[in-house]
């Protein structure tokens, strides 16, 4: 029965090849219904509301890890220092893009507390009191000269012995394009 045997061999070969090919094409599964992500298997995580407020309003420049290019202030390992004195705590909310942000006072307060805990927990004072919506609402009314205010806050931090040196919070000049 050579014909039969050849046929059987061929069938075995085909089945084997089919199993091999379909196994090799088992791509990782993406949770985004999208032809492109299905190919790459990209999995995106659901974001808590404060993280979303940060992503939509701050992350583009400050970076998802709180670190960005030289001309944009680094948040990671730095921003918590400001919360050590009352004028610094005020400054963080009166920075124009926080104060003038279209988000609600509740969202800003939750985002600030999330941001401080996420990017700079170690620099926060031990007795840090989270921002409340009412406090944010009050602070946002002020309009500050951001560069001058920042210099004043840093000098006050140094004077209060809360900052090892003013360089810790310095922002280097960007080079010319």
């Amino acid at each position: 029965m050579p014909k039969n045997r050849a046929l059987r061999g061929g069938v075995v070969l085909l089945v084997g090849a089919t199993v091999f090919v379909s196994h090799a094409q088992n791509a990782p599964v993406s949770n985004v219904p999208d032809a492109v992500t299905r190919k790459t298997g990209l999995h995106v995580e659901p974001m808590a509301r404060p993280a979303r407020i940060y992503a939509e309003n701050c992350e583009g420049c400050h970076g998802w890890a709180g670190i960005s290019v030289t001309e944009i202030p680094t948040l990671k390992g730095r921003v918590g220092y400001f919360a050590r004195i009352p004028e610094g705590r005020r400054y963080l909310v009166q920075v124009p893009n926080v104060a003038l942000n279209p988000s609600s006072d509740e969202d800003i307060a939750a985002m600030m507390n999330w941001l401080l805990a996420t990017y700079s927990r170690d620099e926060l004072p031990a007795d840090f009191v989270p921002y409340s919506a009412a406090e944010v609402a009050q602070l946002r009314k002020a309009r500050i000269d951001v560069a001058a205010d920042r210099r004043r806050v840093i000098a006050a931090l140094v004077a209060a012995n809360e900052l090892p040196s003013p360089d810790v919070l310095s922002i280097p000049h960007a080079s010319l394009y």
Partner: protein
């Protein structure tokens, strides 16, 4: 019949060639050879799983009938072809699509580099109705691509709110301010 070699593999080949020599005519060899040629070209037609490579899923009835979502863009959007302006992630993209310029919807074409800064918007995926955060990151350092010019306006704010404006060149911090194309990377899923 004394085997030529002791090796099992050699003996197997020898047996096979002897069998072939004794039983097969030249014509039969040609027939088989042709058969194998046909079989090997027919192999890729077997019903194996190709979901990962599939460009287009079988056409389902549109799940986003007009007016299903609050976003006008999402009502017209599709999730298959990133080289079209109505690809769902481009709801706020203003510029040339990197996917038409040798890159992908979230990758820069060769010769250009992604800007370290971007602006973040959100688009509805019409297939699951969920809102995803999208980073609109320009690719910089190469002359304008000029292909697939699109203008999405969802959540776009005037120039006096530059952090959510798509008319300005988002190459801040990149090695060059020369704009090449716009990408739209997925950042996360909004709850």
């Amino acid at each position: 019949m004394k085997p030529i070699s002791r090796s099992r593999f050699d003996r197997l080949i020898e047996l096979a060639s002897r069998c072939a020599a004794q039983r097969m005519s030249r014509r039969s060899f040609l027939t088989r050879c042709g058969g194998w040629l046909v079989a090997s070209s027919a192999l890729p037609l077997l019903p194996v799983s190709r979901r990962a490579q599939a460009g287009d899923a079988p056409q389902k009835p549109p799940q986003n009938p007009k007016g299903a979502f609050a976003s006008e863009f999402a009502n017209q959007a599709q999730t298959k072809d990133p080289t079209q302006c109505n690809y769902w992630r481009y709801c706020s993209s203003d510029g040339y699509l990197c996917a038409c310029c040798g890159g992908g919807p979230s990758t820069c074409p060769p010769g250009s580099s992604p800007s370290p800064t971007s602006w973040v918007g959100s688009c509805i995926n019409p297939d699951d109705g969920k809102t995803y955060l999208i980073a609109y990151r320009d690719c910089c350092g190469k002359d304008s691509c000029g292909r697939c010019s699109c203008l999405g306006q969802e959540g776009d704010m005037p120039e006096y709110r530059p952090q959510v404006n798509n008319d300005i060149v988002w190459c801040f911090g990149a090695s060059s301010m020369v704009y090449h194309c716009s990408s739209a990377g997925l950042v996360g899923l909004a709850e």
